[in-house]
């Protein structure tokens, strides 16, 4: 045993001081008694005539001497050395993905993982440096090259489970980069082995080709035992073609190796609608359609609970992961959207618009447009080859604008422009294949500041662009449809649906299927200074645009599962009342209705939507886990993760020496000695208290019992 601060052993000088205090004669009160004959025979501390008296055996003295010795040892920090089991530079990756919330180990996997990681710190050499990476929905460094194990432990303790799927490859890459800063570094991954699970599931998260990215050895500590879990794998609400009924589609998966019975409960705006027991076979999914959604429902919630079973008892304990037992879906608005198509007449456009769900299309020629009444009641204006002198303050889709306007400056025309490859992440082009698009002639329009290019032609000249113009969603197709083969392609109705969706706020596009931790683009309505987002736990966050005139804000705090609501922050009106974004009840439009339809969107999971109430400009969206990799909590052995590291043995770890400090038992000893010293000193009081308590208890006992 050695000492880190041997100078502190000077504290042992207090030992003779305490002994001297005990040898000093105590000043006592005199009491005359008849005889000291009996006292003399039993009293040990007979005094001497000198001011110093003989040192006698005293339990109190012994305890105080032991206390001084223990305190001196504590300050001197004794330690023992042993061979280190970990490298001097260690990067700990703690898996904090959703599956780590599984409770198959007590209390949950993440807690067990953190405990294992902290225990592993004991194998570090004395001069070790530790970095800690939390692998949630993204990799995050929570401690960087700290030499204080307490700080490292606190950093590990502070890691919380994320309600999102994991990305261990990102965390391993980050850990490899951190470990590459020093020679002989090592990566320790504490996980339930989501990487192997992802690979087995075909996710490709950890692949053999990426192995050479890490030049440090990777050691894996696995936690987790069972794979019993049931999850809501999907939840979507779709509208009946009649537009009157809404159905919820729920998919429930069972990862357990045995058949279980679970109760599925559907709630509409918090009120129970129906509940049914599902028999889930081992490793299967069950799909359920709920048709009983009440009209006007805005949020549908599905909960998975314990099943009733034949005997009335549920299968308790068979669901080890709770966070995937609930899902939410936002019901698309019921309100019919009115679209005014202004143009000479385009059957392709009319048909494509008329196919949209919940859309009523009206038509007008350019000559009829100035006299058309009730323009305020339209939600979207589609100008086909014509633009009015004054654009309405409504969302606009312009097809082949003939001249310069606030929608864009026309600088000429293209002839048979080459169509560039469509960007993969463009939401308007989702499920749209324009690789075979041919355009005979298109307007050469300069891209306005408020727009983003959707499809470009030569020299990045936009063929299709969209954006928020003064808070109004606007899209422009730079060519006449009749000058292209676009209306003849399969992509046409889909592109029309995507455009109408973004312009009408129906878009499932960028807000569809929000995953935990993913950023959400929230459009800014006109005059709005920001967006106030209400989280599922009731807290609110205000998001302000990063630049003046921005058409949208990005909300990134989507870590909570559940429904979110985003309300525009509008400046106060002089009268003190908030302006309503829409006017009074719309008058009957004078345009010719082509066809009024309320078809539903064929794609499920239209989670975010504006509310059906026209006076409510809020946007709702739901964040759901819906991650089969996380719901399948079967733990792995970590071999695939370990294969990420180098195969070369780490000699640095073998050369290091780990220190075990003895302060914990010494502190316990000090506390014990303090308690004993107090008890010995106050033994009379304690005994009197005990006797008084006994007497009190005895007096409270019934007399008959006392006699017995």
């Amino acid at each position: 045993m050695a000492f880190l601060a041997p100078i502190a052993l000077l504290g042992l000088l207090f030992v003779p001081l305490i002994v001297a205090f005990y040898m000093l004669r105590l000043r006592r009160a005199e009491r005359v008694v008849s005889s000291t004959y009996l006292w003399q025979q039993l009293v040990r501390d007979v005094e001497a005539n000198a001011p110093w008296q003989r040192l006698r055996r005293s339990l109190l003295l012994l305890l105080q001497l032991l206390l001084v010795v223990a305190l001196a040892l504590l300050v001197a920090r004794p330690f023992t050395e042993r061979a280190a089991t970990l490298a001097r530079d260690l990067v700990i990756v703690v898996d904090a993905t959703a599956s780590m919330a599984a409770t198959d180990v007590f209390p949950d996997r993440l807690t067990a993982a953190k405990r294992a990681a902290i225990e592993a710190l004991a194998g570090l050499p004395a001069d070790a440096r530790v970095s800690v990476v939390a692998a949630g929905n993204s990799a995050r460094v929570v401690a960087n090259e700290v030499s204080d194990r307490g700080r490292a432990s606190r950093a590990i303790e502070g890691i919380e489970v994320a309600s999102a799927g994991g990305n261990l490859s990102e965390a391993l890459t980050l850990a490899g980069a951190l470990g590459a800063r020093a020679r002989g570094a090592e990566v320790l991954v504490v996980t339930d082995d989501a990487g192997e699970r992802s690979a087995a599931a075909g996710g490709g998260e950890v692949t053999a080709g990426e192995r050479d990215r890490l030049r440090v050895p990777v050691r894996v500590l696995t936690v987790g035992r069972d794979r019993d879990n049931q999850a809501i794998a999907a939840l979507a609400v779709r509208v009946d073609p009649s537009g009157l009924k809404r159905s919820a589609f729920v998919s429930v998966s069972n990862s357990a190796p045995s058949r279980v019975i679970r109760r599925l409960q559907i709630l509409a705006d918090g009120s129970p609608v129906t509940a049914r027991d599902l028999q889930l076979e081992a490793l299967t999914r069950a799909d359920v359609v709920i048709d009983e959604l009440p009209p006007g429902t805005r949020i549908v919630e599905a909960r998975l609970g314990m099943g009733g079973g034949d005997d009335g008892r549920g299968d308790e304990g068979a669901d080890q992961l709770r966070i995937d037992d609930a899902a939410w879906a936002i019901v698309p608005p019921d309100r019919l959207q009115r679209v005014l198509l202004v143009g000479p007449g385009n059957v392709y456009l009319q048909n494509a618009l008329a196919l949209l769900p919940n859309v009523e299309v009206y038509g007008a020629t350019p000559t009829e447009y100035p006299t058309t009444t009730g323009k305020e009641s339209f939600d979207l204006f589609v100008f086909d080859g014509w633009l009015p002198p004054e654009l309405p303050d409504k969302p606009i889709l312009a097809i082949g604008p003939p001249s310069t306007s606030p929608l864009g400056t026309v600088k000429g025309t293209f002839s048979e422009p080459a169509v560039a490859e469509a960007p993969a992440d463009e939401p308007l082009l989702r499920n749209v294949d324009l690789s075979r698009l041919h355009v005979a002639q298109a307007q050469r329009i300069e891209l306005p500041d408020w727009a983003r290019p959707v499809l470009t032609g030569p020299a990045n000249a936009p063929l299709i662009y969209a954006g928020s113009r003064m808070g109004l969603p606007t899209a422009v197709v730079a060519f006449d449809l009749r000058q292209s083969d676009l209306p003849l392609q399969v992509a046409w109705p889909i592109l029309t649906a995507n455009l109408a969706g973004e312009l009408l706020g129906l878009a499932p596009s960028n807000l569809d299927s929000v995953r935990p931790g993913s950023p959400v683009e929230l459009p800014l309505v006109r005059d709005a200074t920001g967006v106030r987002v209400t989280l599922p736990d009731g807290t609110t966050r205000e998001i302000l645009p990063s630049a003046t005139g921005a058409s949208s804000v990005t909300f990134v705090m989507t870590t909570q599962l559940g429904p979110y609501r985003a309300d525009p922050i509008l400046p106060r009106s002089p009268a003190g009342s908030a302006p309503t974004p829409s006017g009074p009840a719309p008058p009957t439009p004078s345009g010719s209705p082509f066809r009024g339809q309320s078809n539903s969107d064929p794609s499920p999971g239209t989670s975010p939507a504006t509310t059906g109430d026209a006076s409510d400009p809020s946007i709702r969206f739901a964040v759901n886990l819906f991650d089969p990799n996380e719901s399948n909590i079967a733990p792995g052995d970590g071999s695939r993760l370990a294969a990420w590291g180098t195969d070369q043995p780490n000699t640095a770890a073998a050369n290091g020496r780990a220190r075990d400090e003895w302060w914990v038992p010494i502190v316990l000893l000090v506390l014990l000695l303090l308690v004993l010293e107090w008890l010995v000193y106050e033994r009379d009081g304690a005994r009197r208290l005990l006797e008084a308590t006994r007497a009190g208890v005895t007096s409270l006992m019934p007399r008959r019992r006392r006699r017995a």
Binding site: L26, R31, S34, W39, Q40, R683
Partner: protein, 315 residues
């Protein structure tokens, strides 16, 4: 009607002026004295007394209780001849009767300085007990010898006989004060034992706070008297009311002892006291001495009519 005023004797006789004021007269009221008169100090063996009394003597005498015959000798009193036997056997026999004599009751009171402590102090209790037992002896027509043990000597009052001398006894006892300074109980007892010429009941009243207390008892038992030890302790000696770090000063010797009077120490004291009393009782039993531990708070009537009766000191 009987005059029950303090200072009057049974039968309405006037009280001599010797009644000491130090002794509470209410303790010795008429009813109590009448009860005392019915008691007698127990003698297990007949002992030879001095003058004629009411106790059986080993000698043959003139009482009415027949004991034996012997042959007639010249000079014998002819009134003692048994003529009936002579008529049958034609031989002269003299009838012998039990002689009845008095005995000397020895009352020894320890008046060392330690007896002056306690509430009530042990010496007052001892004086009252001595007076009561002396009166029992006087009422039984015994000679009563009272001695005060102080220092190394026994100060003996003149022996008295007859209940009329009770006030003399009370006066003598009232004048007794606790002697300051150290005492030697064994030496004082030896001193008294050397003066004992007549055997009889010997009551020794003391707190026995002396290292040589057992030797003192042995000295008294050596007189072949029927010794009874009234071991008197005050309540604060039986259950000390002490707490904290104290220096206990011996009221007799002035010696001091430093103690930490906690519950452990008090428990040890109680154990030590019990052991000491058990040792004393064992020592007394071996020497045929009656050992009677009495607290100084014990009422005199309870002492005489209950405790001493139970111990067969009086009957």
């Amino acid at each position: 009607m009987t005059d029950s005023r303090p200072g009057t004797l049974p039968g309405g006789r006037a009280r001599p002026d010797l009644l000491p004021s130090a002794i509470d007269p209410t303790v010795f009221d008429e009813a109590f004295l009448r009860q005392l008169e019915r008691l007698t100090l127990v003698m297990r063996k007949a002992v030879q007394g001095g003058t004629k009394g009411v106790r059986r003597s080993p000698k043959r005498g003139q009482s009415v209780e027949f004991t034996d015959y012997r042959d007639y000798a010249l000079g014998d009193d002819l009134r003692s001849l048994d003529w009936n036997v002579y008529a049958r056997l034609e031989k002269l026999f003299i009838k012998l009767f039990v002689e009845e004599e008095d005995v000397t009751v020895h009352v020894l009171l320890d008046a060392s300085a330690s007896m002056g402590h306690g509430a009530p102090d042990k010496l007052l209790f001892g004086k009252r007990a001595a007076a009561a037992l002396a009166y029992v002896g006087l009422a039984s027509y015994d000679r009563v010898s009272i001695a005060i043990l102080q220092g190394r000597v026994a100060r003996r009052f003149p022996a008295v006989r007859g209940s009329g001398r009770v006030f003399q006894v009370l006066a003598d006892l009232s004048a007794v004060r606790a002697a300051p300074g150290p005492s030697d109980l064994a030496a004082a007892a030896r001193h008294y034992a050397s003066q004992v010429t007549q055997r009889g009941p010997l009551i020794f009243i003391s707190d026995l706070f002396d290292p040589n207390a057992e030797r003192a008892i042995s000295e008294l038992a050596g007189t072949r008297s029927e010794v009874s030890v009234l071991h008197t302790l005050s309540p604060d000696e039986i259950e000390p009311q002490l707490e904290g770090d104290l220096r206990l000063v011996d009221g007799e010797t002035g010696a001091s002892v430093d103690v930490t009077a906690d519950l452990v120490a008090l428990d040890a004291y109680r154990i030590r006291l019990a052991t000491w009393q058990a040792d004393l009782e064992s020592h007394c039993w071996k020497r045929r001495v009656a050992y009677v531990p009495v607290p100084s708070t014990l009422p005199l009537a309870d002492l005489v009519f209950a405790e001493l009766r139970r111990r067969r000191v009086v009957a």
